[in-house]
């Protein structure tokens, strides 16, 4: 039931982000904003995350920590859930929306393989942003961690850096390149692994 | 049987409970052979620690006032009749002493303080006199 708990915590955000991604689709000039999806879904499992709440709401941290479940399981479940939600949202928008709009004739044709590649590249390149968010949320207060993550993402993954480092461009590159951005995906996964490990170390040793 | 304990008087609760049970036996409110509540029931009814009830029951059992019969429960000893007689005798002594002290003109508070003072210094069997006048 840890998954269900995580779902309850992220549900409002998921719904908002589906709408957000829907509006961003098909990917145009603002495609780099897709990176907001993983950032806002990131969480480290111990403290509940409610970004941008005006006053500090109740925090169930101690109840969660008192359960006979390892911190690792709490962390991994929440991290896994957010990533799955990210992948799921991208499946809906841009991908499913595009398929639908092609079907009703509102959009030009795009090949299935390109759409699938788009889904994969969005999801894999999102992982670096995701685990950046996870790391920030591991030690910052719930209300500010999203903002800080966004700022950090802007600084770290610069919009104007060259490929393959430019993950923003890589996310939607299958549309123009008709192939997967392997180098960028590799970089993203590598960065995600490092950040994820760092986030775990913070959660593992942190005092609450 | 209704007991009332006051945790804030400073007297240990197990002593309070013991006194109240003893008092009930002496005045005949509890008769020989009557059953007392189980430890758990007593603790719950009075909202007090079960270990305290255990201690009170154990001390009373030691004094012979109650007995714990395995499987059946806690009962007032058959032999308490004797204790009641002693208490009745003691009551008579105290009553006549109080009458005499009242005749001397002492108020209730004065009598009470006198008793407490004497009890604090009392050595059973020692002749009165002590170290000072």
């Amino acid at each position: 039931m840890l998954w269900y708990k995580g779902w309850l915590e992220t549900r409002p955000r998921v719904l908002f982000l589906i709408a957000f991604a829907w509006l961003l689709s098909p990917p145009g000039q603002l495609a780099f904003l897709f990176a907001l999806v993983p950032i806002l879904l990131a969480g480290s499992g111990i403290e509940t995350q409610f970004p941008w709440k005006t006053k500090k709401g109740p925090v169930s941290t101690y109840f969660t920590l008192s359960l006979p479940v390892s911190r690792f399981r709490l962390f991994a479940t929440r991290a896994g859930l957010g990533m799955l939600e990210t992948v799921g949202i991208f499946a809906i928008a841009p991908c499913a929306k595009w398929v639908l709009f092609i079907f009703i004739g509102a959009e030009d044709y795009v090949s299935r393989s390109d759409l699938f590649a788009l889904w994969v590249s969005l999801s894999v390149c999102a992982s670096a942003f995701y685990f950046l968010g996870v790391l920030v949320s591991a030690f910052l207060d719930e209300r500010v961690s999203s903002t800080i993550s966004i700022v950090a993402a802007g600084l770290l993954f610069s919009h104007s850096s060259p490929a393959p480092v430019n993950l923003y461009r890589a996310m939607v590159s299958p549309l123009s390149a008709h192939s997967l951005p392997w180098a960028s995906m590799g970089i993203s996964l590598g960065v995600a692994a490092v950040l994820g490990l760092a986030a775990w170390r913070v959660v593992q040793t942190r005092e609450y | 049987m209704i007991f009332y304990l006051n945790p804030s008087t400073g007297q240990p609760l197990y002593l309070q409970l013991m006194e109240q049970i003893r008092h009930a036996v002496e005045t005949g409110a509890l008769k020989a052979g009557d059953q007392l509540p189980t430890i758990r029931k007593m603790a719950e009814d009075l909202v007090m620690n079960p270990n305290t009830v255990v201690r009170a029951y154990r001390e009373l059992q030691h004094e012979g006032i109650i007995e714990l019969r395995h499987g059946s429960g806690v009962f007032v000893s058959e032999s308490v009749g004797g204790r009641t007689r002693v208490t009745k005798k003691a009551q008579t002594i105290v009553q006549s002493a109080l009458d005499r002290l009242a005749d001397l003109g002492l108020t209730e508070d004065e009598i009470r303080r006198l008793f407490e003072n004497e009890l604090a210094q009392h050595r059973p069997g020692k002749a009165s006199g002590g170290d000072h006048e």
């Binding site: 925090v59 005092e207 | 002590g130």
Partner: protein
């Protein structure tokens, strides 16, 4: 091999250079109801967090069920066997009562449905969202969750805080009942001296991060006595009282003494003055508490 359910030796903990625990020792025997008392900021919650493994001590050793409290795998075993009620009484606001029971149940190997049902009816917890519950109802729900997995030990941080007198008495009664029927050890921190006096059999008073008084409540009440000595005439030089005298207050010919032991010798010393009379009074937990936590 000790059989203390909770044992702490020399616990020290500082936050940002400020010492909070300065060498705390604690011994909680199995089956006891243990009251942990102290002023705000004395270190009660920090101690509880250390026992629960939320924090690690700077030095010292804390053990629960004989296992090291800060260790992660031992901590898992410890948390399987104990129940905890947090100070803030916060759970997951969007879950209903039924959902959080199902959620919690999944983490424990054994679950006592009989206890769950007993407390559901007793506490009158309808199937509502947790965010709709009052603090008192949340305290009861947390207690239900803590007890229903058959915990051997309950660690409760201010369990009756925010409860009205009737609800408080109900909770105390349930604690006493679970102690009597299951033999559960109960360790609770509190500000309320009266309720500790009512149900605890052992207490520890913590002040400035260390234990200043600890032991069986009955023993403390027997050892501590108040003596009122009335001298025949006012003393010009104060008496040098023997061992065991905690506090002396003089008013004219009357001297009020709080003694923590050695009472007979003190009485004899008082009686050695011609014309002096001595009265004894029992001492409440409040007096013992105030005596030991008043800043000197």
């Amino acid at each position: 091999m000790s059989d203390w359910v909770i044992e702490a030796r020399g616990l020290r903990k500082s936050f940002k250079g400020q010492p909070v625990l300065t060498g705390l020792n604690l011994e909680v025997p199995a089956g006891s109801i243990f009251g942990f008392l102290g002023r705000n900021g004395a270190g009660k919650t920090t101690t509880i967090k250390l026992l629960m493994g939320f924090l690690k001590p700077d030095c010292g050793d804390a053990r629960v069920f004989g296992l090291p409290a800060g260790d992660s795998s031992a901590g898992l075993e410890i948390r399987r066997r104990l129940g905890f009620v947090t100070e803030d009484k916060e759970m997951y606001p969007d879950m209903t009562v039924e959902q959080i029971i199902r959620f919690t149940r999944g983490f424990y190997p054994k679950w006592r449905v009989d206890l769950e049902q007993h407390y559901l009816t007793l506490f009158d917890l309808a199937c509502r969202k947790i965010s709709d519950l009052s603090k008192g109802m949340r305290s009861r729900l947390m207690l239900l969750l803590a007890i229903s997995h058959g915990a051997e030990l309950l660690i409760l941080d201010e369990p009756t805080e925010g409860l009205d007198p009737v609800a408080r008495e109900d909770m105390l009664r349930e604690l006493v009942a679970i102690s009597a029927s299951e033999g559960t050890t109960i360790f609770f921190s509190s500000h309320q001296l009266e309720e500790v006096e009512q149900i605890a059999d052992r207490v520890c008073i913590i002040d400035d991060g260390a234990a200043v008084v600890a032991g069986s409540l009955d023993d403390l009440k027997t050892q501590y006595q108040r003596l009122r000595v009335v001298f025949a005439e006012e003393l010009r030089t104060p008496v040098r009282w023997g061992e065991g005298v905690e506090h002396v207050r003089q008013d004219g010919r009357t001297v009020d003494i709080l003694a923590s032991g050695n009472v007979e010798a003190i009485i004899n010393q008082a009686r050695s003055f011609p014309g002096a009379s001595v009265e004894r009074f029992p001492v409440t937990l409040k007096e013992i508490f105030l005596q030991h936590v008043r800043s000197d």
